[in-house]
Each structure stands twice: as structure tokens, then as C-alpha cells.
């Protein structure tokens, strides 16, 4: 078995026992990247020389008997909206095409401290605006399960890299589902932490009150490990929480007996694919068998969540993206005067979806419309948060499918923004309420023509800062159903390698 085929836990224990070196681990992943990246296109940039230097450093530490940290040479991919000092940080936008970050994001600095080796920067929807990674200015990423389908988005590159075996771990960001939805589409595990648990310093902002950085992995344990490395108060982020970080990996094992899980009926009313729904019911049965008390519940304001989100997120984005003006860094269009320089730079530098959202947000904040849009949305957001609070008085977790359907086809929704937005209908409410939620692969649906199997994800939503509970539920369920899923992942990865063998290099 190649190193890249092993579980993260196995690799880590071999690294710690010095049976393999960080450089060997890195080599294995670089080799895998060479093999399948041309098909998947998960990366915008592979940082090979830098990664080799980092891996050598970790090996030297291990040889000297020093502790290189809890990641100890594990490779990790970074979404391209996270600042890594000295590396380009493009947010998959032409406007930042050549911008090199002069500083490390807090989460990146923390991963460095724990001995992570950065494989590269992954593709995404431009400025994290999208649900398919098709809005990248540098071309879409493909879903390793079916190269004609999208990996989800906006963290599609990170999700696809982990799914295809091109990285054991990856970081993404989640504003309305941008970690969970691609995790669901690619059969990976993705966690959106509670708002404020992970510092946003160094994450290029999309919607500041909704954005959270979170981990992708091949198991619940992976997510716990990565979260452990990046969570905790950061004085550089005024919205970061002072709650003490937690050794999540050490508290994963727990019986689910007596745990109360609510299933909000509203979540099942959004055009859920019948196969996904059937799979979801099956998962509920499995959980019941494990001793979980599963009950239906109601979150009456949920149907307003998507509308609310599409006022608040673009409003914040319109302001957050104002700094990309061609004056100090990034793309600048040549123009005869300042006004037209602004117009041309932003008109040419931003993609269509980004421009659309900037215009939406600018409108919603305008004098005369502010009360009707932004202010009203902020009020509904409070009601949605209260709905969740009420539900959590009765339940420990809430469950739903992560997305209404499995991965859709490339190009299928790109011309229809509203149907694209609906892909996030089940994830968006969680961001509005600032809650933690995990998406884990929970089953497969068979798609029409080729009879290919595509994964779908289960969303486990917890109370604020109850990541432990969420991870415990995920972990217990993974132990129950994970084997079948891992077998299918192995097959998918083999298929991918074979596909590569028969396709010409491009």
C-alpha cells in the first residue's frame, strides 16, 4: 500500500515511530498529485520546494528527538484564500492573480507550529462565492467520483484533493456551506467550527460575520486533529472567542446512548432527492439502533434563511471587497483617470458572480433600502438564531442531509444562480446562527446514465462550541458505516488512476 492510501492516523503513527519520514510521506503525495492532478485540478499551485524544505525540517527534528508538534510532518493543503507567507494568495481571482501574501494567517502559523507541511494552495470559487468551484478564474475543479461533475464549493479544491488522495488533510472556509457542501459532494469529512473558535486573521474575508475556517479530512478523527491545531483565541481577531481550545482527538470515543437528536422537518422540505432522503432515513434508523433518541422537530424560520443569507453575505462582501481597487496590489487596468481605473480594474478583475454579489450588497446597503433589506435580514437572522436555541434546549444535535442532492454536473447550474444558491439551502442556516456542523459521508446514490455512485453527506449540527459532541456523534457513526464508505473511496481512487492511464496528458 502506498503511503497516500493510508489513513492519516496510520501515517502519523508511522511518522512518530520513525518508520517513515516526513519526506517519504511528502514524496508519496507529490507523486499522487503528478498522477491525478491533471484530471482533478484541485490545486492552483503546488508548493513543492517549500514543502520539501518543511518536511526536511520536521525529519531533522524527529531525528534529534524533538517534538515537531501534533501534525509531525503531515501534509496539508490550503484553500487559496488563506495567507501563507511568501506564497501567492489569489482567492481564484484575476484581481489577486499575482498577490503574494507577506504574512501568515493565524491558522497557518498554528499549523506550522504543529509541524504541518503545506502541499499547496487549492482551487475555489472566486472569493469563496459559489457552490461548485466553477467560479474560479483559473478553471473548475472536477469531482474525483465523476470527472463530469462538480466537487461542490467554494472549497472544492480542498475537498477534491482529499477525496482523490492528493492530500490527507486540508483547510477550507465556510460562509454558507463552503466546507460541508463540497465534503458532501466528494465523500470527505468537513467541519465548520462555531463562529469565533478559529481565528479568521489571514482569511481573505467574504462575509465577516459568517466566515469560519475549518478542516477537511478522511475521517472524523482527521477533522478533530486539524481543529485541535488551529482552534483557540487569537488577539488578532476581535471576534475570536476566549474559550479554551480542546484536545478533540482525545474525546472522540463516546456512547451515543440517550443522546437526543432532532430532525427539523423544514430541512426535508427543500426538494431533497428521494434517494438522499431514503439514505438519510436509513442513517436515522442506524442511529436509533445505537441508542440515539431521534425525534422530528421544527425550526419555523428556516425557510427564510437563504433569503436572509443572500442579503447579509453580499452586503458584507460588497464592503470587504472594496479594497481590491488596483491602487496598492493585485491587478490594475490601465485607464486615463482614477474613476475609470477603478471601474475597469474591478470590472475586469472580478468574475461575474463576484460582481453580481457586490452589486446585490451595494444595493442592500444603499440609503433608502438599508432598512428594508440589510436591517430586516439582520432581524430575521436573530430569529433564526433563536429558533436554533429553542431546538437545542431539547436536543444535543440536529441532523439533516448536508445537501439536497449529490454532486451535480459541471455547467448544469452555472447559468442559473438561484438554483446554484439552493445547493446551500441546508447549510446556510448554520452559518447564520454561528453553530458548529460536520458533514460526513453517509451513503451513496446511483446516478442515471453511467450508473456511477456518488456520495452524499450527513450534516450534524451542534450547540455553540459543542464541537466535541458533533465529532463524537460523527465518530460513532463512522465506526458503524465507515468501512463500506472507505472501500468505495478506495475503488474510486483506483478508477481515477486508471482513468489517468488511458487519458492523454494535457
Amino acid at each position: 500500500m502506498e503511503i497516500w492510501e493510508m489513513s492519516t492516523k496510520e501515517i502519523l503513527s508511522l511518522l512518530k515511530s520513525r518508520e517513515i519520514t516526513a519526506q517519504e510521506v511528502l514524496d508519496s503525495y507529490l507523486c499522487r498529485i503528478t498522477e491525478v492532478e491533471p484530471l482533478v485540478r484541485a490545486y492552483l499551485e503546488v508548493l513543492e520546494p517549500e514543502a520539501r524544505a518543511e518536511a526536511a525540517k520536521v525529519d531533522a527534528m524527529l531525528i534529534r528527538g524533538e517534538d515537531p508538534g501534533i501534525l509531525s510532518g503531515l501534509p496539508c493543503a490550503l484553500k487559496d484564500n488563506l495567507a501563507l507567507k511568501g506564497a501567492r494568495c489569489t482567492c481564484a481571482s484575476k484581481i489577486l492573480e499575482n498577490w503574494v501574501a507577506p504574512y501568515d494567517a493565524t491558522c497557518v502559523a498554528r499549523l506550522k507550529k504543529q509541524g504541518a507541511v503545506f502541499l499547496g494552495k487549492t482551487n475555489m470559487d472566486e472569493f469563496a462565492m459559489g457552490s461548485s468551484t466553477e467560479n474560479s478564474a483559473f478553471g473548475p475543479t472536477k469531482n474525483p467520483w465523476d470527472l463530469e461533475r462538480v466537487p461542490g464549493g467554494s472549497s472544492g479544491g480542498s475537498a477534491a484533493a482529499v477525496a482523490a488522495g492528493m492530500a490527507p488533510l486540508a483547510l477550507g472556509s465556510d460562509t454558507g456551506g463552503s466546507i460541508r457542501q463540497p465534503a458532501s459532494f466528494t465523500g470527505t469529512y468537513g467541519l465548520k467550527p462555531t463562529y469565533g473558535l478559529v481565528s479568521r486573521y489571514g482569511l481573505v474575508a467574504f462575509a465577516s460575520s459568517l466566515d469560519q475556517i475549518g478542516p477537511f479530512g478522511q475521517s472524523v478523527w482527521d477533522c478533530a486533529l486539524l481543529l485541535e491545531a488551529i482552534a483557540g483565541y487569537d488577539p488578532l481577531d476581535s471576534t475570536s472567542s476566549r474559550k479554551e481550545p480542546f484536545p478533540y482527538t482525545k474525546h472522540l470515543e463516546s456512547s451515543l446512548r440517550g443522546l437526543r437528536a432532532g430532525v427539523p422537518g423544514e430541512f426535508l422540505g427543500f426538494g431533497i432527492d428521494p434517494d438522499v432522503r431514503e439514505g438519510f432515513e436509513k442513517i436515522l434508523e442506524i442511529l436509533s439502533d445505537m441508542g440515539v433518541i431521534v425525534e422530528e422537530t421544527s425550526l419555523p424560520t428556516l425557510p427564510y434563511a437563504l433569503d436572509t443569507y443572500y442579503v447579509i453575505a453580499p452586503s458584507e462582501a460588497s464592503s470587504n471587497l472594496a479594497r481590491f481597487d488596483g491602487v496598492r496590489y493585485g491587478f490594475r487596468a490601465s485607464a486615463p483617470n482614477l474613476e475609470s481605473m477603478y471601474q475597469k480594474t474591478r470590472g475586469e478583475g472580478f468574475g461575474r458572480e463576484v460582481r453580481r454579489r457586490i452589486m446585490l450588497g451595494t444595493f442592500a446597503l444603499s440609503a433608502g433600502y438599508y432598512d428594508a433589506y440589510y436591517l430586516r435580514a439582520a432581524r430575521i437572522r436573530t430569529l433564526i438564531r433563536r429558533d436554533f436555541e429553542n431546538a437545542f434546549e431539547k436536543f444535543d444535535v440536529l441532523l439533516s442531509p448536508t445537501t439536497p442532492t449529490a454532486a451535480f454536473k459541471l455547467g448544469e447550474k452555472i447559468e442559473d444562480p438561484i438554483s446554484m444558491y439552493l445547493a446551500d439551502v441546508l447549510t446556510v442556516p448554520v452559518n447564520l446562527a454561528g453553530l458548529p456542523a460536520l458533514s460526513m459521508p453517509a451513503g451513496f446514490v446511483i446516478t442515471g446514465e453511467k450508473g456511477k455512485e456518488l456520495p452524499w453527506g450527513l450534516q450534524i449540527i451542534g450547540k455553540p462550541f459543542a464541537e466535541t459532541t458533533v465529532l463524537q456523534v460523527g465518530n460513532a457513526l463512522e465506526q458503524e458505516i465507515g468501512k463500506e464508505i472507505n472501500d468505495k473511496i478506495r475503488d474510486m481512487r483506483r478508477d481515477l488512476t486508471r482513468t489517468r492511464e488511458c487519458e492523454p496528458v494535457d
Partner: protein
Amino acid sequence: MTRHEYEMMIGLEVHVELLTRTKMFCRCSTRFGDPPNTNVCPVCLGLPGSLPRPNREAVRLAVRAALALNCQVNLSSRFDRKNYFYPDLPKGYQISQYDEPLATGGYIEIEEPRKRIRIRRLHIEEDAGKSMHAGDDITAASYSLVDFNRSGVPLIEIVSEPDMRSPEEARQYLEKLQRILQFARVSDVKMEEGSMRVDCNVSVRPKGSDVPGVPCELKNLSSFRAVVKALSYEFERQVGLLEKGEKVVRETRHWDESKEVTAVLRAKETSEDYRYFPDPDLPRLELSPEFVDEVRNSMPELPDQIVSRYVENMGLPRYDANVLTSSPALAEFFDKCVELGAEPKTASNWIMGDLLGYMKAKGIPYEKIPLEPRSLVEMLVLIKDGVISGKIAKDILVKMIETGKDPRTIVKEEGLEQISDEESLARVVEQVIANNPSVVEEIKAGKEKAIAFLVGQVMKMTKGKANPAKVNIILKDKLTS
């Protein structure tokens, strides 16, 4: 109607830089005058991914300013974003406070006429960078350069009600505001260095009307003098329009210092919509009552309090008290002199007369007094003890400033002790009498006033060192004997 039948309504918006060592939302230095773009970091450059973190010291100073201006401090306030595009605004928005400011409802008292000017609000915001154009302005320039050293420097904006009725009242308000903030150690408040910036809102209406006129905003006012001139100009202009039956248009006008007129900037923004909304990167600014109390209790003594101390406790004329409180350094200097034993009025006379006169002549600012209080007090002792004459003291004061020596050393080195011993004085007096027979005759004939001439001659011969009182006695004695 003549112009005497109109009145002005003036409201002022004053921006003041706070005296913090570091910026409002990062830890870069606020030092003025450093090479361009040296005090910068990802936060104050607005780099992607950077986030603001509030400066506690800036909040302290802002609260202190609010209390010094008699404002109500709001324990919960909020930071908002003011969105607009300009090259020196690195984030494309300025972090400010909009509908929930730090403080509201204060006032300043002015003297002529004695009245209160109400302060509507005081809020915290960050400064922008500074643009330099290779040309008249950004549209005419072939290129422009931006210095971000100032970007993110903490500011407070103090907005008055339109309570001022003349340019002179506006000037008094600004001077008072400047003094209060200086004494509160909140800001340097220097218009030349840009640590104080003033915008005016001015309208006119017929006297007695309770309907406000259409206001214009005046910008680019770089001194108090400019404020007064621009307001006076604007009064004439607006009255002129109304007299012709035309309307005043609500607009922003720039003061042209060289032409001494206000003019509308070339039609720029259609209408300014800053799209304010709460900054999602910053939690609400929550202050504890204890924090506000602590700021209140550690408030430095303010000019009004000092003036009444000088007038009521020390018996100084109000005029003196006002002059001595024109800068904290001056008041401190005076207080120190009194503490060291100087008689207050005597010290005040010397400070207001010779010391400030010297400083004014040399262009030394009031906050950089070039003399130790101890030296002045020692000099006053020498005068009182008759060691030196008041006339000689005037020279000694200048020498003390220019050499840094104490007065005793100067007196000794230059032999400036007053000549009081009668034998020496008698010898000089005799010589003067011998040299001026005609004057002596006049005096003997009853023209007593001419004695002053002879005293002057004695002073001249002794290079001012003779004790004039004694000279007078000896002269009278010799002439009548």
C-alpha cells in the same frame, strides 16, 4: 434687508488625532514625520485577510475627551463602516461610529459673549493615509503618491450643534476646544500638522426666524484664521444670494487660501451615500461604569478649573489667568514658579511680558518654554533683594534663556550687581552734577522734574547698575545742600 438683519448659524465638525503611541486598530507607531510608508502593517494597509483590533488606550483618551467636553459617555457603542473609494483609504471603507457614537450631548463655554455651544456627539474613527499629487489635485496630476503612515491613526470627531452666530464665536469655540483637549492630554491639536481638522456647516437666515437656512459645508480650512475668513466670506456670499432673491444651494465648498474665496469643487459625487453598516469584524464597544469613573478620576486639571484657581486663589486678573492657560506647558511653568515661592502677580508679569515677548519674537511655540522655572524665581529673588535692578533683570532673562546659566552666575560673571553703596554712588553723582551745570541751575530754579535727567545720566554711567532709588536720594541731598 441689510446684512445686519441676517444671522449666521455655524456648526463645526472637528477631527482630532489622539495622542496614542500606536494606531487605532493595529500596533504600528503613530509618529509624525517618519519616512513615507514605514509605519505600516497588513492591518493599516488593508491587506487581504487582515483584521482590526481596537486600541484600548485610544478608547481611554476618547472617553477622557468626552468627559472633558461634558458629554454623556455611552457604555455601549458600535463601530460602523463608512464605505467610499479613494486611493488613500486602503480598505475602501473607514471604520467609524455612525448611529451609536461613543458620547453625546456635551458643551463648551465661550467668553465673548459668554455662552454655551452644545456638542451633539463625539465618536471614534480611524484616519486615512495621505495623498500627494504630482499636480494640483488627483484629477490633474500625472501621478499621485500615497503615504499610509497616517492610515489608522486614531481620531475623534466632535460635532457641535449649529449654535455659533459669528465667525468670532467659531474661533473662540475652536480655541477653547483646542485648549481643553491639550490640557486633557488627549491630543496635540495642531492644525499645521493636521492633528486638528475643521469643517464648518454654515447657513444664514433673517434674524428672529426659527427656520434654519440652507447650510453649506466648508472644507480645506488650515488655520483658525482661515476658518474666520471663510465664514465671513460665506456670510456675505449667502446674504448676497438671498438679497438677490436667489437660493443658497446645499453643497460642499472649498476655501481657496490664496484667492480668499470659497468655491464648489468641480461636480464630483452625485450624492454621497456611504452605505454605513455595523462592522462585522468588531464586537460592540462595551465600557464598564468603573472604567469611565477611573477615566473621570484621573482627568488632568482643565483650563476652566485652572483659571478659577488663579483668579480666586491667587488673585490674578482674569486676563492674566487666561493668558497663562493658553498652553499646558505655560500653566505648568507658572504653577511651578509659584510653588518655588514667586509672588503670583510678579511671576505672571514677567512671564506674560518678557518671557512670552521673547518667545513670540523668536517664534518659539508656547509649549516649549526655553527656561527653567527655578531660574526665573531666582531672578525675582535677586530683584527683590536689591541685588539687581529690574532693568538689568530684563537682560539677564534673555541671557538665561540663551546661555542656560542661572541668574547668579550671570550677575557674577558680568559684574551686574546693583551699586547701592553710597560712597561709590556719591562719586558718580558728583561727576554728573559737575558735567551738567545748566541742568543743575534749572533744578535749583525750581524745575524739579529735570532731576530725572540726572538720574538717567547716573544710570548711563553705571551701565544701569546703580540703584535708582538711592541715586535719587543722593542727588536731592547734594542739590539742596
